[in-house]
């Protein structure tokens, strides 16, 4: 009967770890999707899906995804805040799936703020 080899063991480790690493801390970046009633109504759930899909496809394991309530600017929803840890967070507004994907690739992965969609720097406090 074919059994696991050392390489299989390493492969399992890498693959599973990418899905469980979020329990260990040590994040490089955080994406916060604003999920107040207004955000959800404007399509925040789609942003969440596209972010999770990107993370999964690209096997990213150092990005934390959180939600928060209404940011108080309901007319500009859906909104998201991206924070590369150690730098000020950036709020994006009037988003859709394409814009979110763009932000993910340029800002989260490359560290370049997508100024066209950015609203402001700074964020409300979350845990």
């Amino acid at each position: 009967m074919a059994k696991l080899t050392v390489e299989d063991l390493k492969r399992i480790k890498e693959e599973v770890r990418s899905t469980t690493v979020l329990r260990e801390g040590g994040f490089r970046a955080r994406i916060n999707i604003h999920m107040g009633t207004c955000g959800i109504a404007a399509g925040a759930r789609k942003l969440m899906s596209i972010v999770l899909k990107e993370i999964e496809e690209k096997k990213i394991n150092d990005v934390m995804v959180t939600t928060s309530g209404c940011a108080g600017l309901c007319s500009r929803e859906p909104m998201a805040t991206v924070e590369i840890l150690g730098t000020p967070p950036v709020k994006y507004c009037d988003l859709n799936e394409e814009k979110m994907k763009e932000i993910f690739i340029h800002h989260v992965l490359d560290g370049k703020i997508v100024e066209a969609y950015a609203l402001a720097r700074g964020s409300e406090t979350t845990y």
Partner: protein, 607 residues
């Protein structure tokens, strides 16, 4: 083929933004954590969050006093005492809208503010997790999650890059000593086991945890069974043994269940059985549920029990490493010892030895129970002060009571008083204090505990559990118990104290096995540290802690009585009369001396 099916499942593994780690140790399960899980899953499904938020069942988180417990990652937020009815609100607020729910957060004694993050809670902050490195972080029933946390990496390193001698040397370098109680150097034991050229050899894991108030082994087996399997397999490689047995109490059904799952999964992956990882090394493990005799925690008695014989110790030598199970060379280690092994082999003996004291390296797991605010399972570096354990981690003594003693090491251990709170806990310092590490039960006692009664309780336990093979333990302990009973009934003589001490020393010196050699410790230590209390029982016919019912008068002290009437409410016999603004009175003809009034009175007004 089995593992390829697993692999297919792996590729289907999804990324979730949030993991909810629901504690499913025995403590939290009995508080209803499995209902919590069901409710969470159905609520997440209703809210359309099933693809984003994952519910994971873990082993014991450690903070049993606050169960059922759930930890939310990536934030690391700690929720306590949840009920299924809290779930809909929690899911909407936190997992949909991202607002942690304050009312379920932790707040502790002397802490006014809520503490949202697990890592900031004092109970966790002072701990160092090595044997429990995976607790609360993995699903104990999923081998992949163990592998993701470097599981079986030590085994593959050992099998492909180390000789058995190198393995033993690494364990010796680590300074690891047996966590079952006696503290025998593990590396030395393995070396002995390897030395004898008689085959087959056996590896045994001792999970016959019998000390009252101890649950370390259970928690390790429930939270991280694979770490024990991996440690045993490494031991097997070092000895050239191919069969391991886990002797575990039948009273631990959840531990046995998870062990069975773990063994099954390891076999499917080829991490147990023939030709492990293609290295040519074979090793198998079976489980043997023990019927719950305390003496079967003694290594030779355990082996007889495994052979199907009556569990009784035998004279050593020969040591088990020479002639153990079925007369063959056998290495027996405790659950916690084996759980430490993979980390030692992966990170090196030096790394392990970097923590701890001169003679005791690494960390030790303790079951912290008794009258302490934070009851639970903890792991601290060797050499941690008792004060840190009781006050910083344990949160001190609740109900405005005073600390009196801490009982360490169960029926083999001792009661240590206030002036030993600054003792640095390791094998040698405890030995010096007349105590014993034991397997790691730590029972905190407040000032309402009577030391004579405590000594009596443990002596009674040892009398019950003595196998009866040798006279000192069988007869001697019974005589000690009779003397203690006499003292507790107010019929003691001053000479009794000396009799107890003399007899105790004789029993320690002449008993056959570890049970008898240590059974007098509770009595000897209480005489050593609380002699005045024995004298009060004998000379003044008085039990200062109001525990020994024969020495309590059951009379209300009118000066101390605040006329609150709580004693009247507590009395099940209507033996207390009380009116507003008058002190209560106890009518002895109706009183059955149940002590309910003493427990109810907040002013110590009953004598």
């Amino acid at each position: 083929m089995p593992w390829q099916e697993e692999a297919r499942r792996l590729t289907e593994m999804k990324t979730y933004r949030t993991h909810l780690m629901v504690c499913a140790g025995t403590g939290c399960v009995s508080c209803g954590s499995l209902n919590l899980k069901e409710r969470l899953e159905s609520e997440l499904k209703d809210r359309g969050l099933s693809d984003e938020v994952k519910v994971v069942i873990t082993g014991c988180n450690g903070f049993c006093a606050e169960g059922p417990i759930m930890v939310v990652y990536p934030e690391g937020i700690f929720y306590k005492k949840l009920t299924p009815d809290d779930i809909p609100f929690l899911v909407e607020e936190h997992f949909l809208k991202g607002r942690p729910v304050e009312k379920f957060l932790y707040t502790g004694p002397a802490i006014k503010e809520k503490v949202p993050l697990l890592k900031d809670i004092p109970f966790f902050r002072h701990q160092v997790l090595r044997a429990l490195r995976n607790r609360g972080l993995i699903d104990a029933e999923n081998i992949d999650e163990y592998i993701a946390r470097d599981g079986y990496a030590a085994l593959s390193k050992v099998l492909f890059s180390m000789t058995p001698e190198e393995v033993i040397q690494e364990v010796k370098t680590s300074g690891l000593r047996g966590r079952g109680g006696a503290g025998f150097p593990t590396g030395l034991k393995w070396e002995e086991g390897r030395r004898y050229d008689s085959f087959p050899k056996y590896v045994i894991c001792n999970g016959d945890e019998g000390d009252p108030g101890a649950f370390m082994d259970r928690s390790v087996l429930e939270a991280d069974p694979h770490s024990v399997l991996e440690g045993m397999t490494i031991c097997g490689y070092a000895l050239d043994a191919h069969q391991g047995h886990i002797y575990v109490r039948a009273e631990y059904p959840l531990a046995i269940h998870r062990l069975n799952i773990a063994i099954e999964q390891a076999k499917n992956y080829g991490l147990l059985g023939k030709d492990i990882l293609g290295s040519g090394f074979d090793f198998d493990i079976s489980i043997y549920p023990g019927a719950g005799a305390f003496v079967c925690g003694e290594s030779t008695a355990l082996m007889y029990s495994l052979e199907g014989k009556r569990g009784m110790p035998r004279i050593k030598p020969p040591r088990s490493t020479e002639a153990g199970l079925w007369g063959q060379p056998t290495v027996l280690n405790n659950v916690e010892t084996f759980a430490n092994v993979p980390a030692i082999l992966l990170k090196g003996g030096q790394w392990f030895a970097s923590l701890g004291t001169e003679g005791s390296k690494g960390t030790k797991v303790f079951a912290l129970t008794g009258t302490v605010s934070n009851v639970g399972l903890i792991e601290v570096p060797m050499g941690t002060r008792l004060r840190t354990i009781v006050y910083d981690i344990g949160g001190g003594i609740p109900d405005k009571r005073e600390f009196k003693a801490v009982q360490i090491g169960g029926p083999s251990g001792a009661c240590l008083p206030t002036n030993l709170l600054d003792i640095e806990v390791d094998f040698d310092s405890l030995d010096e204090a007349g105590a014993m590490m034991g397997s790691g039960g730590l029972v905190v006692m407040n000032d309402s505990t009577c030391m004579v009664d405590t000594a009596r309780f443990f002596t009674d336990f040892s009398v019950d559990e003595s196998c009866g093979k040798c006279v000192p333990c069988r007869v001697g302990m019974k005589v000690m118990l009779n003397i203690l009973n006499r003292i507790a009934e107010g019929k003691g003589e001053m000479e009794d104290i000396e009799r107890l001490e003399r007899l105790g020393h004789h029993i320690k010196e002449s008993s056959h096995c570890g049970l008898g050699k240590t059974a007098p410790n509770p009595v000897l230590s209480t005489i050593r540290y609380f002699r005045k209390e024995y004298e009060a029982h004998i000379q003044e016919k008085r039990c200062p802690a109001l525990v020994c019912v024969d020495l309590i008068q059951f009379r209300v002290n009118a000066e101390r009585c605040k006329m609150c009437g709580l004693c009247k409410k507590a009395c099940p016999m209507d033996a207390i009369t009380w009116e507003k603004k008058t002190p209560a009175a106890i009518h002895l003809e109706k009183c059955v001396r149940c002590r309910s009034c003493i427990q109810a009175c907040k002013f110590n007004a009953i004598e």
